[in-house]
Every structure is written in C-alpha cells, then in structure tokens.
C-alpha cells in the first residue's frame, strides 16, 4: 500500500486506516486535524517535509508520521475530491 510521503506533489489521494504501528496518541492527533480514513487530501509539498492540503488547511507532517499515513493507490487520484 502506498503511503503519503511517496505521493507525487499535486496529487489528490484518499486516506485509509493508518499503519497499525502509528502510536495511538498521534493517531488521535491526526484525527483531530481532520486526517481521517476516507477523506481526500492533496499533497502540496514533499520537501522539507510532507505538506498536505486538507479542507483548505495546510498540514505539515514529519517523515516519521507521513510514512505511516496510508493512502489509496494512484488509480483513485483522478477521483474528484468531495466537499
């Protein structure tokens, strides 16, 4: 499965359940930011770290976290983001 740190800049992907090894506290933190399974996000940068656009808000994710944030494979990239 692809993770968000490997998605190309500009692509919109849909989040799925994060890697089970992601700590519960971080998982809750991501959820509070709106990064929840089923939600589309757009990758706006991969350097100096992964930055995603989630509902018009930019979130920076350190590599250790981004590498555990799984997303659907590129086929879903073309799906239009829902509101």
């Amino acid at each position: 499965m692809n993770t968000i740190d490997r998605v190309r800049v500009g692509a919109t992907v849909r989040l799925v359940e994060p890697d089970p090894s992601l700590e519960a506290s971080l998982r809750e933190h991501l959820a509070a930011f709106g990064l929840l399974p089923g939600h589309p996000v757009t990758v706006v940068a991969q350097r100096p770290m992964t930055i995603v656009l989630c509902d018009h808000v930019e979130l920076a994710l350190e590599a250790a976290v981004a590498a555990k944030l799984r997303v659907t494979t590129p086929a879903a990239q073309s799906r239009p983001p829902r509101a």
């Binding site: 959820a31 770290m49 808000v57 979130l59």
Partner: protein, 668 residues
C-alpha cells in the same frame, strides 16, 4: 490595568470551593469563547471586550484564561479559553478549556471556528453540544474561506445545528455584533453524534448512574459520561470529588469496555468526525478557486531554494529592528541618557542624603543597588530590547512565518531530541532567556521542555549579551564572530545529542497546521506585545531584583571577593585570561551581559584569542540569576541546581578547549 483580573487555576479552584457552585441565578453572566488554536479567538475576544484585559494568558503558553467585561451586555464577562482541538482533553490547553466549562458556569459558549475547515470545526461543535450549554457558532476567517472558494450555506447549517451561526472576519470586525447578539440568546445545539454499539449502550449506562447521583452538573450528564469514558482527566477529577462512591463502579464499566475494544477516545472522535462530515457536506458548496497569493507565498517560504534567502532576509530585518534600533538606539537613550545622566544621579543623591544607615544606601543605590543595578538594568537595558523583540516576534507569529520556520528547523531539532516547535522558545531566548524558559510550556512533553530549557540555559545568548559579543568580536573581524557562533552551535548540537539520548522518553514528531501567510493586523500585534510586556514587568522584574539582592548580599558579606579569588587560578591557568577576568565571570552570574561587559571593558588588555575564549565561556556560563530562578519555578529547584552544577564546569571546559585549539592553530 483595570479590575478585570484573571485568575490562576489554583485561585479559581479556591473560588469554587467557597461557594460558586450555588451562584444565584441572577448573577452577572459569563460567556466562554472556545475553539481550536489559531482560529482568531483572541481577536474575537478583543473585539467583544475591547477594554483592557488581564494578560495572564501569555498566548499559547500558559494554561490560564483571560477574562474581561463584555462590551455588549452590562455586567457580563467574557472568558477566552486556551485553544482546544479535541475533547476529551489531551494537552494542557485542552484541559484548561475543559476546566473552564466545568468550573466557570458559562451562560453560553461562543465557538470560534475556522470557516476554511468546516468539518473539523463541526467535530468540536458536536463535542460542545454534548455539554448541554447554549451556544453560538462563529465561522471566522470567512474572508479566507471566500478567497478559497468555500461557500457555506449559513442558514442551512444553523437549521441543522439548531443554533445561531454567524459569519465573522475578526480582523475587520465583520459579524462580531451578530455574534454578541447571538451569545445573549444562545440555544442548545440539537445536532448529535451517533455513537456505535456497544459504546452507545455504555454511554447510556454511565449517564443513568450520573443522573441518579447528581441533581445538577456543570456539563450535561450524557456529555460528562462521554468525556469520562474517553478518559478526560479533568472530568475524572471532577467526578472523583463529586461522586466519590460511584467512581469504582464507573471505572469498572469503562475498563470492561476497554478490554474488549481498546481505548474509547478514538471511537468517540470517529463518530463525531463522521457526523461532522455529513453536516458539513450538506452546508458546503465548494467552487474551484485559483490558489491565493498567500498560498503561493507560503509555499515560497518553504521552497528548497528560496527558503534560505527569505530566512536570511527575515533575520536581517529582525536584527536591524531589535539589535540596531532596540539594543542600540533606544538603550543608548535610556541607559546612558535618561538613567545614567539624569535619574540615577538624582536618586543616588536623594538616597545618600537621607538613608539613616550606609548599608541601606548601598542596598538601594550602591554598586549592586536595587535601583542602580536591578531596576536600571530591567528598565533601561532589557525593556527596550524586549519591547522591540516582542514586536518583531508578534509580527512574525501573526504572519504565519513561525509555523513555517518550525518546519524548516525540524530536521536539525530532531537531532537534539526536539521538534521544530522548539524554534519559538529558542528564538525567544535570543531576546530574554528568562522569558523563553517560561515559553517552553508550548512544547508537548515535559521531556522536550527539559531539553529546551537546558540548552537555552547553556548556550543561547540573550539579547543583552549578544550586543556586547557582537561589539567585541565584531570589531576583531567577522572570522572571530563566526568562530564564536560555530562553537555555540557545536555545543548545542553535542549537548542536545547527549540530552536526547540520556533523558528518558520519546521524541514527538512534528504535526502542525500551517496557517496562511497573512499581513499581521497592527492592533493585534500591539495588544500581544503589551500583554507580554506587562507579563515581563510583573514576572521578570521581581526576579531581577531578587538577583540583585543576592549579589548585594554576597558582596556585603565579603563572599564575592572570596569567590573571585577562588576562581582566579582557573581563569588565569586553564582559560589563559588575565586575573581581572575572574571578577567578570562571577558578575556574569548576575547578568550575563555584565560579565561580557566586564571583559569588554578590559578591551585592549585582551588578545583576540583571549576575547574569543572569554566570550565563549561567558556565553555558555549560567544565564543570569533571574533565569535560574525561573528555571527553578518551572522545573523545580533540584533540576535548576543540577543544571547550574553541569553548566558551570562545561562552560569552563569548553572555554579551555577553545584556547587549546587556538594554541594548536598558532593563533594564541
């Protein structure tokens, strides 16, 4: 400042124990503003109150609430609670916000939310709805939402939630009047998250038990049950006090559920998020909008190539403002002109003529006098520097640059066991280490706070000292100045590397929101700056006076010359400096810049190599007494003492090593 005092939580608890629970119904109402961090809540607060506020909520750092009289309703009070991203609470800020809900008996809640992120905002709305308090939702930053093509059907949303929903732009004041109006006639939110089984049944069971035992609770029984099941520490503590005999039973119920399905907080969060997404989708119509200028600028700031020149530009401008205008021009006027030329001679004459005992005169206006040293230092030297510094700091903070700086710095900070967020206290340390020590509270864990505090105490020079170092080493040439910077960076790197490995616990990775780059609103920056300055006057000046007093006592009792004599062999031998430098080092404990100034005054007597060794040692040396007292306050006396016991030998050791390196290189 006026009478709108804000209370520390301890005071507030005292207040509750003395009978606030039985407040008469007709008592003046309190409205609480609640919301995620960075949504513009403080600007809304200032708009709704407009008067002076007590400032104990040093923004983002302390877990105290600000309160002030409402503008729109005589006798009413508005509370500004710390930013809360989610309930059950996890951070200190979230706990403080929840404490306000539990103990302040707000007549209504005003949720300030970011209109750009409706889904996330509504998840908080649903959590607040469960408290059973009447509420209003302010969709702030509506201007930014518009620019991004986010259109929200406010009427529809209001109908779905059953409460007033107001579009606001806090910075221009748009919608603030409607928000005030809405607060006065707030309603209970009817929208509810639907919890899955078996959680839903469990919530009902706990709700029933609470309803049996509590006639009235500050948070509706069901809301209380949900927060308890999600392990909210504040609700847990409240219940332990109010229904002690039911606790065992309740805890058993929760533990049984957790054994089957793990922690309940994520399940709760998920259910709210789903309900929020559904409501958001029904009220939102997004149109495609071109990326805004602010979005593009924000990306440029983090661009692999452009970020560096931008950073250098920001640093240079900050230096011009703080270093040249603040530390140079303003300090010159105040310290040499006003205090040195006019006030101090007059005060000294006055006191010396009237003091009945010579020791009193020396305590007040002597070499280590409370006025001539303590107050003069605090007001004439540090105040102008911190004023310009806080202005620049507030500007960068409100512009959204700092959030991006944290991203840029994250990789380097990871090596020393911190994350990019620590860039804020560290930069603030360049202004005043004492103040920055307090700001370490924004860091997520006690471990990070400890590491950051230690590194600042060790190797971050404060503004007062920076000025002297720049003057002295700068005059010798850029190479010497860079050598000094290089040594400090190496020390921070090595000490941080070791601290990160020796201090138990785990590093928290950076996950942060990047607010859009904005042109800061002058009024907001000024308000923040004045709040911080007031804090500085209230908290730091007493510490400077205490430090001065300690120095005076050492001097008057004859201990100071004794210490200086003990230090001499080390200073002349290992560090290779003249004898007089010993006094400068001991002085440096009171005021780091004083120590540096002491060396500066020796000027021509020092070779360039000696100047470098001296400056490195003085910088690494313990910061001023005020900062040690602050470390004691934040970290405990034992840790403060341990830090001093580690820092002094390290400073001397590194100073000597620099000398050896210079000798080996043929430069000394």
């Amino acid at each position: 400042m006026n009478a709108n005092r804000s209370h520390s939580w301890a005071e507030m608890h005292g207040h509750i124990l003395t009978g606030a629970a039985e407040r008469p119904e007709r008592e003046a109402r309190t409205y609480a503003l609640v919301g995620a961090p960075n949504v513009g809540k403080s600007v809304v607060f200032h708009r709704l109150t407009g008067t002076y506020v007590d400032v104990s909520n040093y923004p983002g750092t302390t877990v105290e609430v600000a309160r002030a009289a409402a503008r729109f309703e005589a006798g009413a009070t508005i509370l500004d609670t710390p930013g809360a991203l989610a309930f059950p609470s996890r951070s200190d800020d979230e706990r403080a916000a929840l404490r306000a809900l539990l103990h302040e008996n707000p007549a209504a809640l005003g949720q300030v939310a970011d209109a750009k992120h409706l889904r996330r905002s509504l998840a908080i709305t649903l959590a607040l709805a469960e408290t059973g308090r009447p509420m209003v939702l302010a969709l702030n930053m509506s201007d930014e939402a518009d620019a991004r093509g986010v259109a929200i059907d406010v009427a529809r949303l209001s109908k779905a939630l059953g409460i007033d929903v107001v579009r606001t732009v806090a910075t221009t004041g748009e919608g603030v009047r409607q928000l005030a109006h809405g607060l006065a006639r707030a309603r209970v939110c009817v929208a509810q998250a639907a919890y899955p089984q078996p959680l839903a049944r469990l919530i009902d069971a706990v709700t029933l038990r609470l309803a049996d035992r509590l006639a009235r609770a500050p948070i509706a029984h069901r809301g209380m049950a949900i927060l308890f099941l999600g392990r909210d520490p504040e609700v847990e503590a409240w219940l332990a006090v109010h229904v002690p005999d039911a606790m065992r039973d309740l805890v058993l119920l929760r533990e049984a559920a957790e054994r089957d399905g793990g922690r309940l907080a994520p399940v709760i969060a998920h259910a709210r998020a789903e309900a929020a997404a559904r409501i958001a989708a029904s009220a939102l119509s997004a149109t495609k909008a071109a990326p805004t200028r602010s979005t593009l600028a924000g990306r440029l700031v983090l661009h692999p190539v452009w970020s560096l020149p931008i950073l250098l530009g920001v640093l240079s401008l900050t230096y011009l403002f703080v270093g040249v205008l603040g530390a140079g021009t303003l300090v010159g006027w105040l310290e040499e002109g006003l205090f040195g030329g006019t006030i101090n001679p007059a005060v000294t004459r006055f006191v010396e003529a009237r003091a009945p005992w010579p020791w009193l005169a020396s305590l007040l206006v002597g070499r280590y006098g409370l006025w001539t040293m303590g107050m003069t230092y605090a007001v004439a030297l540090v105040l102008p520097i911190v004023t310009t510094f806080f202005l620049a700091f507030g500007f960068l903070e409100d512009s959204g640059y700092f959030a991006r700086l944290a991203v840029l710095a994250n990789r380097s900070f990871a090596r020393i066991g911190l994350n990019g967020r620590a860039v804020l206290p560290m930069v603030l340390g360049l202004g005043c280490v004492t103040m920055a020590t307090l700001t370490t509270r924004i860091l997520a864990t006690p471990r990070e706070r400890l590491i950051a505090t230690f590194l600042m105490a060790l190797a971050i020079p404060c503004s007062a000292q920076l000025g002297v170092v720049m003057g002295m080493l700068g005059a010798l040439g850029l190479a010497w100045l860079l050598a000094w910077v290089g040594v400090l960076v190496a020390v921070i790197g090595l000490a941080g590397f070791l601290a990160a490995r020796l201090i138990p616990g785990k590093r928290i990775p950076l996950v942060a929101e990047l607010p859009p780059l904005r042109w800061p609103v002058a009024g907001n920056v000024l308000k923040k700056t004045s709040a911080r300055l007031y804090w500085y006057l209230r908290e730091v000046i007493p510490l400077f006076l205490a430090g001065t007093f300690a120095m005076w006592s050492l001097d008057a009792s004859g201990a100071l010359p004794w210490i200086v004599a003990r230090a001499e062999p080390l200073v002349t031998g290992w560090l290779g400096l003249p004898r007089e430098a010993a006094a400068a080092f001991v002085m440096g404990f009171l005021r780091r810049d004083f120590g540096a100034t002491g060396l500066f005054a020796m000027g021509a007597a020092l070779s360039p190599a000696q100047a470098l060794v001296g400056m490195v040692t003085i910088t690494l040396f313990v910061p001023c007494i005020a900062s040690v007292l602050m470390i004691g306050k934040e970290q405990g006396a034992a840790r403060a003492a341990l830090m001093v016991a580690m820092i002094v030998p390290v400073a001397v050791l590194v100073g000597g090593l620099v000398r050896l390196a210079l000798v080996a290189a043929g430069l000394a």
